[in-house]
Protein backbone atom coordinates (compact mmCIF):
# COMPACT_ATOMS: atom_id res chain seq x y z
CA UNK A 1 0.00 0.00 0.00
CA UNK A 2 0.97 3.62 -0.52
CA UNK A 3 1.89 5.31 2.76
CA UNK A 4 -0.93 7.43 4.19
CA UNK A 5 -0.43 10.35 6.52
CA UNK A 6 -3.26 11.71 8.63
CA UNK A 7 -3.28 14.70 10.96
CA UNK A 8 -5.95 14.91 13.66
CA UNK A 9 -6.31 18.38 15.14
CA UNK A 10 -8.52 20.08 17.68
CA UNK A 11 -8.34 21.00 21.33
CA UNK A 12 -7.48 18.96 24.41
CA UNK A 13 -10.31 16.74 25.66
CA UNK A 14 -11.73 15.92 22.23
CA UNK A 15 -9.94 12.59 22.08
CA UNK A 16 -7.60 13.63 19.29
CA UNK A 17 -4.68 11.59 20.64
CA UNK A 18 -6.81 8.55 21.43
CA UNK A 19 -8.29 8.28 17.96
CA UNK A 20 -4.78 8.28 16.45
CA UNK A 21 -3.68 5.63 18.97
CA UNK A 22 -6.66 3.37 18.25
CA UNK A 23 -6.19 3.61 14.49
CA UNK A 24 -2.44 3.01 14.84
CA UNK A 25 -2.98 0.05 17.16
CA UNK A 26 -5.49 -1.47 14.73
CA UNK A 27 -3.24 -1.32 11.68
CA UNK A 28 -0.13 -2.53 13.55
CA UNK A 29 -1.65 -5.34 15.59
CA UNK A 30 -4.40 -6.54 13.21
CA UNK A 31 -2.72 -6.13 9.84
CA UNK A 32 0.99 -6.32 10.58
CA UNK A 33 1.56 -2.93 8.96
CA UNK A 34 3.84 -0.17 10.19
CA UNK A 35 2.60 3.01 11.82
CA UNK A 36 4.23 5.98 13.50
CA UNK A 37 2.29 8.39 15.69
CA UNK A 38 3.64 11.72 16.90
CA UNK A 39 1.75 14.34 18.84
CA UNK A 40 1.85 17.72 20.48
CA UNK A 41 -0.44 19.29 22.99
CA UNK A 42 -0.62 22.17 25.42
CA UNK A 43 -0.02 21.72 29.12
CA UNK A 44 -3.71 22.27 29.95
CA UNK A 45 -5.73 19.16 30.91
CA UNK A 46 -8.56 20.34 28.66
CA UNK A 47 -8.55 23.08 26.09
CA UNK A 48 -5.39 24.20 24.38
CA UNK A 49 -4.40 23.11 20.91
CA UNK A 50 -3.75 19.51 20.28
CA UNK A 51 -2.67 17.52 17.25
CA UNK A 52 -1.54 14.04 16.38
CA UNK A 53 0.01 12.76 13.19
CA UNK A 54 -0.24 9.15 12.08
CA UNK A 55 1.64 7.60 9.18
CA UNK A 56 0.58 4.15 8.00
CA UNK A 57 2.70 2.08 5.61
CA UNK A 58 3.42 -1.48 4.55
CA UNK A 59 7.15 -0.64 4.68
CA UNK A 60 9.27 0.43 7.62
CA UNK A 61 8.78 4.16 8.23
CA UNK A 62 11.95 6.21 8.55
CA UNK A 63 11.10 9.93 8.64
CA UNK A 64 8.57 10.09 11.49
CA UNK A 65 6.64 13.06 10.12
CA UNK A 66 5.65 14.18 6.65
CA UNK A 67 5.68 17.66 5.22
CA UNK A 68 2.28 17.30 3.56
CA UNK A 69 -0.56 15.12 4.83
CA UNK A 70 -3.06 13.11 2.80
CA UNK A 71 -5.88 13.68 5.29
CA UNK A 72 -6.50 16.53 7.72
CA UNK A 73 -9.17 16.11 10.40
CA UNK A 74 -10.06 19.35 12.17
CA UNK A 75 -12.40 19.58 15.13
CA UNK A 76 -11.82 23.25 15.84
CA UNK A 77 -11.47 26.42 13.80
CA UNK A 78 -8.09 27.51 15.18
CA UNK A 79 -6.68 24.02 14.60
CA UNK A 80 -7.83 24.11 11.00
CA UNK A 81 -6.36 27.58 10.47
CA UNK A 82 -3.04 26.42 11.87
CA UNK A 83 -2.71 23.17 9.93
CA UNK A 84 -4.55 23.67 6.63
CA UNK A 85 -1.28 24.47 4.86
CA UNK A 86 0.05 21.03 5.78
CA UNK A 87 -2.65 19.30 3.72
CA UNK A 88 -1.73 18.16 0.20
CA UNK A 89 -3.59 20.11 -2.51
CA UNK A 90 -5.29 16.87 -3.56
CA UNK A 91 -5.83 15.84 0.06
CA UNK A 92 -8.98 15.11 2.01
CA UNK A 93 -10.29 17.57 4.60
CA UNK A 94 -12.68 16.36 7.29
CA UNK A 95 -14.27 18.99 9.52
CA UNK A 96 -16.89 19.11 12.24
CA UNK A 97 -19.22 21.79 10.79
CA UNK A 98 -20.42 22.89 14.24
CA UNK A 99 -16.87 23.78 15.31
CA UNK A 100 -15.29 24.80 12.03
CA UNK A 101 -17.11 27.66 10.33
CA UNK A 102 -14.86 28.50 7.46
CA UNK A 103 -12.36 26.55 5.47
CA UNK A 104 -10.86 26.88 1.99
CA UNK A 105 -12.42 24.49 -0.52
CA UNK A 106 -9.68 24.90 -3.11
CA UNK A 107 -8.71 21.55 -4.54
CA UNK A 108 -9.45 19.49 -1.46
CA UNK A 109 -12.07 16.79 -1.12
CA UNK A 110 -14.12 18.01 1.84
CA UNK A 111 -16.40 16.07 4.18
CA UNK A 112 -18.47 17.77 6.84
CA UNK A 113 -18.93 15.20 9.61
CA UNK A 114 -21.21 16.31 12.48
CA UNK A 115 -19.15 14.33 14.98
CA UNK A 116 -19.82 16.32 18.14
CA UNK A 117 -23.55 16.73 17.45
CA UNK A 118 -23.87 12.99 16.80
CA UNK A 119 -21.97 12.08 19.94
CA UNK A 120 -24.19 14.37 22.05
CA UNK A 121 -27.29 12.81 20.49
CA UNK A 122 -26.22 9.27 21.43
CA UNK A 123 -25.36 10.25 24.96
CA UNK A 124 -21.80 11.48 25.41
CA UNK A 125 -19.96 14.26 23.62
CA UNK A 126 -16.56 12.69 24.34
CA UNK A 127 -17.38 9.99 21.77
CA UNK A 128 -17.06 12.48 18.89
CA UNK A 129 -13.64 11.03 18.13
CA UNK A 130 -15.19 7.58 17.58
CA UNK A 131 -17.71 9.07 15.14
CA UNK A 132 -14.67 10.24 13.17
CA UNK A 133 -13.01 6.85 13.43
CA UNK A 134 -16.21 5.29 12.08
CA UNK A 135 -16.26 7.82 9.27
CA UNK A 136 -12.65 7.01 8.32
CA UNK A 137 -13.32 3.25 8.35
CA UNK A 138 -14.80 2.84 4.82
CA UNK A 139 -12.48 5.52 3.44
CA UNK A 140 -9.31 3.77 4.63
CA UNK A 141 -10.50 0.14 4.55
CA UNK A 142 -7.31 -1.09 6.17
CA UNK A 143 -8.77 -3.24 8.91
CA UNK A 144 -12.25 -4.77 9.07
CA UNK A 145 -15.07 -3.17 11.05
CA UNK A 146 -14.92 -6.08 13.50
CA UNK A 147 -11.19 -5.65 14.03
CA UNK A 148 -11.59 -1.93 14.67
CA UNK A 149 -14.39 -2.57 17.16
CA UNK A 150 -12.18 -5.06 18.95
CA UNK A 151 -9.39 -2.49 19.30
CA UNK A 152 -11.87 0.14 20.56
CA UNK A 153 -12.98 -2.34 23.26
CA UNK A 154 -9.35 -2.91 24.26
CA UNK A 155 -8.40 0.75 24.34
CA UNK A 156 -11.26 2.60 26.02
CA UNK A 157 -12.45 2.40 29.63
CA UNK A 158 -15.01 -0.33 30.15
CA UNK A 159 -17.87 1.97 31.09
CA UNK A 160 -17.43 3.92 27.85
CA UNK A 161 -17.18 0.93 25.50
CA UNK A 162 -20.87 0.91 24.54
CA UNK A 163 -21.13 4.60 23.72
CA UNK A 164 -17.87 4.48 21.78
CA UNK A 165 -18.99 1.48 19.71
CA UNK A 166 -22.30 3.22 19.06
CA UNK A 167 -20.45 6.35 17.96
CA UNK A 168 -18.27 4.26 15.65
CA UNK A 169 -21.42 2.84 14.01
CA UNK A 170 -22.89 6.32 13.64
CA UNK A 171 -19.70 7.46 11.92
CA UNK A 172 -19.90 4.51 9.52
CA UNK A 173 -23.49 5.44 8.67
CA UNK A 174 -22.54 9.07 8.02
CA UNK A 175 -19.74 7.95 5.70
CA UNK A 176 -22.02 5.67 3.71
CA UNK A 177 -24.57 8.44 3.49
CA UNK A 178 -22.07 11.04 2.24
CA UNK A 179 -20.30 8.79 -0.25
CA UNK A 180 -22.28 6.09 -2.09
CA UNK A 181 -19.03 4.40 -3.15
CA UNK A 182 -18.46 3.39 0.49
CA UNK A 183 -21.78 1.60 0.86
CA UNK A 184 -20.42 -1.88 0.15
Amino acid sequence: MKPISIRFSGFGGQGIILVSVILGTAVVTKKDLYAVQTQSYGSEARGGQCQAELIISSERIDSPTTHQKDILVSLFQSALDRYIDTLKPEGTLIVDPKLVNSYPRDTYTVYEVPATETAIRIGNRIAANMVLLGFLQPMLQIVSEEEMQQVIKEQVKEKFVDVNLKAFQEGLAIAKDLNPAWRN
Binding site: T29, L33, A35, T38, Q39, D62, S63, P64, T65, H67
Partner: protein, 383 residues
Protein backbone atom coordinates in the same frame (compact mmCIF):
# COMPACT_ATOMS: atom_id res chain seq x y z
CA UNK B 1 18.96 -11.04 41.12
CA UNK B 2 16.41 -12.06 38.54
CA UNK B 3 17.52 -14.80 36.24
CA UNK B 4 15.64 -16.90 33.76
CA UNK B 5 16.36 -20.18 35.53
CA UNK B 6 15.02 -19.11 38.90
CA UNK B 7 12.41 -16.54 39.81
CA UNK B 8 11.42 -15.37 36.36
CA UNK B 9 7.86 -14.07 36.22
CA UNK B 10 6.11 -14.59 32.89
CA UNK B 11 4.40 -11.20 33.26
CA UNK B 12 7.78 -9.65 32.50
CA UNK B 13 7.32 -10.23 28.80
CA UNK B 14 4.44 -8.94 26.72
CA UNK B 15 5.47 -11.07 23.75
CA UNK B 16 3.94 -9.94 20.46
CA UNK B 17 3.44 -6.89 18.26
CA UNK B 18 2.38 -3.66 19.93
CA UNK B 19 1.73 -0.08 18.93
CA UNK B 20 3.74 1.35 21.77
CA UNK B 21 5.00 4.65 23.12
CA UNK B 22 8.80 4.90 23.03
CA UNK B 23 9.04 5.53 26.78
CA UNK B 24 6.93 2.42 27.44
CA UNK B 25 9.11 0.37 25.09
CA UNK B 26 12.17 1.26 27.20
CA UNK B 27 10.32 -0.01 30.29
CA UNK B 28 9.42 -3.28 28.55
CA UNK B 29 13.04 -3.71 27.44
CA UNK B 30 14.21 -3.19 31.03
CA UNK B 31 11.72 -5.75 32.33
CA UNK B 32 12.81 -8.24 29.67
CA UNK B 33 16.39 -7.78 30.89
CA UNK B 34 15.34 -8.60 34.45
CA UNK B 35 15.07 -5.08 35.91
CA UNK B 36 13.68 -5.37 39.43
CA UNK B 37 14.38 -1.90 40.88
CA UNK B 38 13.54 1.55 39.55
CA UNK B 39 13.81 4.94 41.20
CA UNK B 40 13.10 8.23 39.47
CA UNK B 41 12.00 11.80 40.01
CA UNK B 42 9.30 13.32 37.78
CA UNK B 43 10.39 15.26 34.70
CA UNK B 44 9.00 15.55 31.21
CA UNK B 45 9.47 14.00 28.69
CA UNK B 46 10.54 10.97 30.75
CA UNK B 47 7.48 10.68 33.02
CA UNK B 48 5.84 7.84 31.12
CA UNK B 49 8.82 5.67 32.09
CA UNK B 50 8.17 6.18 35.82
CA UNK B 51 4.44 5.87 35.28
CA UNK B 52 4.73 2.50 33.58
CA UNK B 53 7.44 1.22 35.91
CA UNK B 54 5.14 2.01 38.85
CA UNK B 55 2.49 -0.22 37.28
CA UNK B 56 4.68 -2.97 35.84
CA UNK B 57 7.34 -3.55 38.51
CA UNK B 58 4.89 -4.58 41.26
CA UNK B 59 3.38 -7.10 38.80
CA UNK B 60 6.71 -8.90 38.52
CA UNK B 61 7.81 -8.65 42.13
CA UNK B 62 10.06 -5.64 41.61
CA UNK B 63 10.35 -2.39 43.54
CA UNK B 64 9.39 1.08 42.30
CA UNK B 65 10.38 4.15 44.28
CA UNK B 66 9.53 7.73 43.47
CA UNK B 67 12.59 9.50 44.77
CA UNK B 68 12.57 12.90 46.45
CA UNK B 69 15.03 14.07 43.82
CA UNK B 70 17.51 12.90 41.19
CA UNK B 71 20.34 12.44 43.68
CA UNK B 72 18.29 9.95 45.69
CA UNK B 73 17.30 8.21 42.46
CA UNK B 74 20.80 7.66 41.12
CA UNK B 75 22.35 6.74 44.48
CA UNK B 76 19.56 4.32 45.34
CA UNK B 77 19.90 2.73 41.91
CA UNK B 78 23.66 2.32 42.35
CA UNK B 79 23.10 0.90 45.85
CA UNK B 80 20.35 -1.47 44.74
CA UNK B 81 22.66 -2.69 41.96
CA UNK B 82 25.42 -3.38 44.50
CA UNK B 83 22.88 -5.21 46.66
CA UNK B 84 22.09 -7.54 43.75
CA UNK B 85 19.28 -5.84 41.86
CA UNK B 86 19.09 -5.00 38.20
CA UNK B 87 18.40 -1.33 38.67
CA UNK B 88 17.49 1.61 36.47
CA UNK B 89 16.59 5.27 36.63
CA UNK B 90 15.29 7.64 33.98
CA UNK B 91 15.38 11.39 33.69
CA UNK B 92 15.62 14.23 31.20
CA UNK B 93 18.43 16.68 30.57
CA UNK B 94 18.01 19.00 33.58
CA UNK B 95 17.64 16.00 35.90
CA UNK B 96 20.62 14.31 34.26
CA UNK B 97 22.77 17.22 35.44
CA UNK B 98 21.94 16.40 39.05
CA UNK B 99 22.78 12.74 38.56
CA UNK B 100 26.38 13.28 37.48
CA UNK B 101 27.79 12.92 40.97
CA UNK B 102 26.02 9.59 41.41
CA UNK B 103 27.14 8.40 37.99
CA UNK B 104 30.72 9.14 39.04
CA UNK B 105 30.11 7.11 42.19
CA UNK B 106 28.53 4.20 40.30
CA UNK B 107 31.50 4.18 37.91
CA UNK B 108 34.04 4.22 40.77
CA UNK B 109 32.41 1.40 42.73
CA UNK B 110 31.58 -0.46 39.50
CA UNK B 111 27.83 -0.65 40.08
CA UNK B 112 26.09 -2.25 37.11
CA UNK B 113 23.06 -0.03 36.41
CA UNK B 114 21.17 1.68 33.61
CA UNK B 115 20.43 5.40 33.32
CA UNK B 116 18.07 6.60 30.63
CA UNK B 117 18.29 10.26 29.66
CA UNK B 118 15.55 11.67 27.44
CA UNK B 119 17.32 14.72 26.07
CA UNK B 120 15.23 17.86 25.80
CA UNK B 121 15.94 21.49 24.94
CA UNK B 122 16.57 23.58 28.05
CA UNK B 123 13.24 23.72 29.87
CA UNK B 124 11.27 22.72 26.79
CA UNK B 125 10.14 19.31 25.58
CA UNK B 126 11.71 19.70 22.17
CA UNK B 127 14.12 17.26 20.59
CA UNK B 128 17.89 17.64 20.79
CA UNK B 129 21.25 15.86 20.91
CA UNK B 130 22.68 18.65 23.07
CA UNK B 131 23.74 16.29 25.88
CA UNK B 132 25.76 13.88 23.75
CA UNK B 133 29.07 14.97 25.30
CA UNK B 134 27.64 15.03 28.82
CA UNK B 135 26.79 11.33 28.47
CA UNK B 136 30.53 10.71 28.39
CA UNK B 137 32.08 13.57 30.31
CA UNK B 138 29.46 14.69 32.86
CA UNK B 139 31.04 13.41 36.07
CA UNK B 140 34.40 14.30 37.57
CA UNK B 141 37.28 11.84 37.69
CA UNK B 142 38.35 8.99 35.46
CA UNK B 143 35.73 6.77 33.95
CA UNK B 144 34.36 5.43 30.70
CA UNK B 145 30.71 5.35 29.74
CA UNK B 146 28.83 2.89 27.63
CA UNK B 147 26.17 4.93 25.87
CA UNK B 148 23.64 3.54 23.38
CA UNK B 149 21.57 5.72 21.03
CA UNK B 150 18.21 4.27 19.95
CA UNK B 151 16.40 5.73 16.95
CA UNK B 152 12.95 4.16 17.36
CA UNK B 153 10.54 2.71 19.89
CA UNK B 154 11.75 -0.76 18.91
CA UNK B 155 15.34 0.23 19.60
CA UNK B 156 14.32 1.74 22.94
CA UNK B 157 13.21 -1.80 23.81
CA UNK B 158 16.23 -3.52 22.24
CA UNK B 159 18.94 -1.17 23.48
CA UNK B 160 17.60 -0.94 27.04
CA UNK B 161 17.75 -4.74 27.17
CA UNK B 162 21.25 -4.66 25.66
CA UNK B 163 22.22 -1.89 28.09
CA UNK B 164 21.40 -4.05 31.10
CA UNK B 165 23.43 -6.92 29.64
CA UNK B 166 26.46 -4.69 29.02
CA UNK B 167 26.13 -3.17 32.50
CA UNK B 168 26.18 -6.65 34.02
CA UNK B 169 29.05 -7.88 31.89
CA UNK B 170 31.33 -4.92 32.58
CA UNK B 171 30.01 -3.81 36.01
CA UNK B 172 29.58 -0.29 34.71
CA UNK B 173 26.77 2.25 34.40
CA UNK B 174 25.22 2.19 30.92
CA UNK B 175 23.43 5.25 29.57
CA UNK B 176 20.55 5.00 27.14
CA UNK B 177 20.57 8.23 25.17
CA UNK B 178 16.91 8.84 24.37
CA UNK B 179 15.39 12.06 23.04
CA UNK B 180 11.97 13.65 22.83
CA UNK B 181 11.51 12.50 19.22
CA UNK B 182 11.39 8.81 20.04
CA UNK B 183 10.34 8.98 23.70
CA UNK B 184 6.94 10.45 22.84
CA UNK B 185 6.45 8.58 19.56
CA UNK B 186 4.21 5.55 19.21
CA UNK B 187 5.39 2.84 16.90
CA UNK B 188 5.29 -0.82 16.07
CA UNK B 189 7.28 -2.70 18.70
CA UNK B 190 7.91 -6.42 18.59
CA UNK B 191 8.51 -7.93 22.01
CA UNK B 192 10.30 -11.23 21.47
CA UNK B 193 9.48 -14.51 23.15
CA UNK B 194 11.15 -15.80 26.29
CA UNK B 195 13.42 -18.14 24.31
CA UNK B 196 14.67 -15.35 22.04
CA UNK B 197 15.95 -13.19 24.88
CA UNK B 198 19.53 -13.45 26.03
CA UNK B 199 20.23 -12.32 29.56
CA UNK B 200 23.67 -11.63 30.96
CA UNK B 201 24.21 -11.69 34.71
CA UNK B 202 27.17 -10.29 36.63
CA UNK B 203 29.87 -12.69 37.78
CA UNK B 204 29.91 -13.61 41.47
CA UNK B 205 32.98 -14.75 43.36
CA UNK B 206 33.50 -18.38 44.24
CA UNK B 207 35.89 -17.43 47.07
CA UNK B 208 34.97 -17.60 50.74
CA UNK B 209 34.54 -14.27 52.59
CA UNK B 210 37.97 -14.44 54.24
CA UNK B 211 39.74 -14.93 50.91
CA UNK B 212 37.65 -12.47 48.86
CA UNK B 213 39.16 -9.14 47.78
CA UNK B 214 36.28 -7.02 46.41
CA UNK B 215 38.32 -5.01 43.90
CA UNK B 216 40.82 -7.62 42.80
CA UNK B 217 40.31 -8.22 39.11
CA UNK B 218 42.00 -9.36 35.93
CA UNK B 219 43.52 -6.67 33.72
CA UNK B 220 40.84 -4.64 31.89
CA UNK B 221 38.09 -6.62 33.55
CA UNK B 222 35.57 -6.05 36.34
CA UNK B 223 36.02 -7.83 39.66
CA UNK B 224 33.54 -10.58 40.56
CA UNK B 225 30.93 -9.35 43.03
CA UNK B 226 30.02 -10.82 46.39
CA UNK B 227 26.43 -11.70 47.28
CA UNK B 228 24.82 -9.50 49.91
CA UNK B 229 24.06 -11.01 53.31
CA UNK B 230 26.45 -13.95 53.00
CA UNK B 231 29.21 -12.70 55.26
CA UNK B 232 31.17 -10.65 52.73
CA UNK B 233 32.11 -7.15 53.79
CA UNK B 234 32.80 -4.53 51.13
CA UNK B 235 33.27 -0.79 51.47
CA UNK B 236 31.87 0.79 48.32
CA UNK B 237 33.38 4.26 48.30
CA UNK B 238 34.04 6.94 45.74
CA UNK B 239 37.45 7.43 47.33
CA UNK B 240 40.45 5.61 45.99
CA UNK B 241 40.14 2.01 47.13
CA UNK B 242 42.67 -0.81 47.28
CA UNK B 243 41.89 -4.34 46.17
CA UNK B 244 40.57 -5.15 49.64
CA UNK B 245 38.36 -2.06 49.61
CA UNK B 246 40.44 -0.09 52.14
CA UNK B 247 41.01 3.59 51.38
CA UNK B 248 44.65 4.23 52.31
CA UNK B 249 46.12 6.32 49.50
CA UNK B 250 48.49 4.50 47.20
CA UNK B 251 49.58 6.46 44.11
CA UNK B 252 50.52 3.39 42.10
CA UNK B 253 47.35 1.63 43.22
CA UNK B 254 45.30 4.64 42.13
CA UNK B 255 46.92 4.58 38.71
CA UNK B 256 46.28 0.85 38.39
CA UNK B 257 42.66 1.09 39.57
CA UNK B 258 41.68 3.71 37.02
CA UNK B 259 43.62 2.02 34.22
CA UNK B 260 41.45 -0.99 34.92
CA UNK B 261 38.16 0.91 35.37
CA UNK B 262 38.64 2.76 32.08
CA UNK B 263 40.44 -0.12 30.38
CA UNK B 264 37.64 -2.62 31.02
CA UNK B 265 35.48 -0.50 28.71
CA UNK B 266 37.97 1.05 26.27
CA UNK B 267 40.06 -2.06 25.66
CA UNK B 268 36.89 -4.12 25.19
CA UNK B 269 35.30 -1.65 22.80
CA UNK B 270 35.26 -4.17 19.96
CA UNK B 271 32.91 -6.27 22.05
CA UNK B 272 30.90 -3.27 23.25
CA UNK B 273 30.66 -1.10 20.13
CA UNK B 274 27.98 -1.64 17.57
CA UNK B 275 27.31 0.16 14.29
CA UNK B 276 25.08 -0.52 11.31
CA UNK B 277 26.12 0.25 7.74
CA UNK B 278 23.73 1.02 4.93
CA UNK B 279 24.77 1.10 1.24
CA UNK B 280 28.44 1.42 2.15
CA UNK B 281 29.97 -0.96 -0.41
CA UNK B 282 30.34 1.48 -3.32
CA UNK B 283 29.87 4.69 -1.33
CA UNK B 284 32.02 7.73 -2.12
CA UNK B 285 30.44 9.79 0.64
CA UNK B 286 28.89 8.63 3.90
CA UNK B 287 26.60 10.18 6.50
CA UNK B 288 27.62 9.25 10.05
CA UNK B 289 24.84 9.83 12.54
CA UNK B 290 23.01 8.49 15.59
CA UNK B 291 19.64 8.55 17.36
CA UNK B 292 16.53 9.77 15.59
CA UNK B 293 18.59 11.59 12.95
CA UNK B 294 19.24 8.17 11.41
CA UNK B 295 15.64 8.11 10.20
CA UNK B 296 15.44 11.15 7.88
CA UNK B 297 19.06 10.41 6.90
CA UNK B 298 18.00 6.99 5.56
CA UNK B 299 15.33 8.66 3.43
CA UNK B 300 17.79 11.31 2.21
CA UNK B 301 20.33 8.64 1.22
CA UNK B 302 17.64 6.87 -0.82
CA UNK B 303 16.70 10.16 -2.52
CA UNK B 304 20.34 10.90 -3.39
CA UNK B 305 20.87 7.33 -4.63
CA UNK B 306 17.98 7.86 -7.04
CA UNK B 307 19.98 10.77 -8.49
CA UNK B 308 22.91 8.40 -8.97
CA UNK B 309 24.92 9.71 -6.03
CA UNK B 310 27.06 7.03 -4.40
CA UNK B 311 26.25 7.71 -0.79
CA UNK B 312 25.85 5.50 2.25
CA UNK B 313 25.12 5.75 5.95
CA UNK B 314 26.84 4.60 9.11
CA UNK B 315 24.55 4.45 12.14
CA UNK B 316 26.22 4.56 15.53
CA UNK B 317 24.36 2.28 17.91
CA UNK B 318 27.10 2.82 20.47
CA UNK B 319 27.97 6.49 20.78
CA UNK B 320 30.38 5.93 23.71
CA UNK B 321 32.92 4.47 23.61
CA UNK B 322 33.47 5.90 20.13
CA UNK B 323 33.33 3.03 17.63
CA UNK B 324 36.63 4.23 16.17
CA UNK B 325 37.49 1.12 14.19
CA UNK B 326 34.17 1.11 12.30
CA UNK B 327 34.29 4.86 11.64
CA UNK B 328 37.92 4.68 10.48
CA UNK B 329 37.14 1.79 8.15
CA UNK B 330 34.45 3.90 6.49
CA UNK B 331 36.64 7.02 6.32
CA UNK B 332 39.46 5.15 4.58
CA UNK B 333 37.26 4.28 1.60
CA UNK B 334 35.43 7.54 0.94
CA UNK B 335 36.07 11.12 -0.14
CA UNK B 336 33.83 12.78 2.38
CA UNK B 337 32.00 12.05 5.60
CA UNK B 338 29.01 14.06 6.81
CA UNK B 339 28.65 14.36 10.58
CA UNK B 340 24.90 14.74 11.08
CA UNK B 341 23.39 15.65 14.44
CA UNK B 342 20.68 17.67 16.17
CA UNK B 343 22.72 20.25 18.10
CA UNK B 344 25.30 22.96 17.46
CA UNK B 345 27.85 20.34 16.33
CA UNK B 346 29.34 18.30 19.17
CA UNK B 347 29.93 14.66 18.35
CA UNK B 348 31.26 15.97 15.01
CA UNK B 349 34.52 16.60 16.86
CA UNK B 350 34.88 12.89 17.50
CA UNK B 351 34.13 12.08 13.88
CA UNK B 352 36.62 14.72 12.73
CA UNK B 353 39.26 13.33 15.11
CA UNK B 354 38.90 9.83 13.70
CA UNK B 355 38.28 10.67 10.02
CA UNK B 356 40.25 13.77 9.10
CA UNK B 357 43.45 11.84 8.31
CA UNK B 358 41.59 9.96 5.61
CA UNK B 359 38.86 12.18 4.19
CA UNK B 360 37.13 15.52 4.59
CA UNK B 361 34.41 15.91 7.21
CA UNK B 362 31.46 18.21 6.74
CA UNK B 363 29.02 18.98 9.53
CA UNK B 364 25.26 18.98 9.04
CA UNK B 365 23.66 20.34 12.18
CA UNK B 366 20.25 21.63 13.20
CA UNK B 367 19.55 23.11 16.61
CA UNK B 368 15.87 24.04 16.47
CA UNK B 369 14.27 21.46 18.74
CA UNK B 370 13.24 19.19 15.89
CA UNK B 371 14.98 16.55 13.78
CA UNK B 372 16.11 17.29 10.26
CA UNK B 373 13.62 16.61 7.51
CA UNK B 374 14.74 14.27 4.74
CA UNK B 375 14.64 17.22 2.33
CA UNK B 376 16.97 19.30 4.49
CA UNK B 377 19.51 16.46 4.58
CA UNK B 378 19.05 15.76 0.87
CA UNK B 379 19.77 19.41 0.06
CA UNK B 380 22.88 19.35 2.26
CA UNK B 381 24.34 16.22 0.63
CA UNK B 382 23.37 17.01 -2.95
CA UNK B 383 26.71 18.72 -3.51
Amino acid sequence: MIDKENNWNQKRLKTGVHFMLGNYAAVEGALAAGCDYFAGYPITPANEISERMSQRLPEVGGVFVQGEDELFSIYSVASAALAGAKAMTATASAGFNYMQEGIGYASAVEAPCVILNVQRCRGENFATHADVMQMRWGASGDYETICLAPSSAQELFDYTLLGFNLAEKYRNPVIIMSETTIALMRERVLVPSYDEIEIVNRAYTDLQPDAYLPFKAEENAPPPMAPLGKGYHTLYTLNYHNEDGSIEWDPKGYDKLYKRITGKIWENRKDICRTEGYLLDDAETVIITYGSEVRPAMDAVRMAREDGQKIGLLKLVTVWPVPEEDIREVAKGVKKVYALEMNIGKYAREIERVCSRYCTVERITKNQGIIHTKDEIYQAIKG
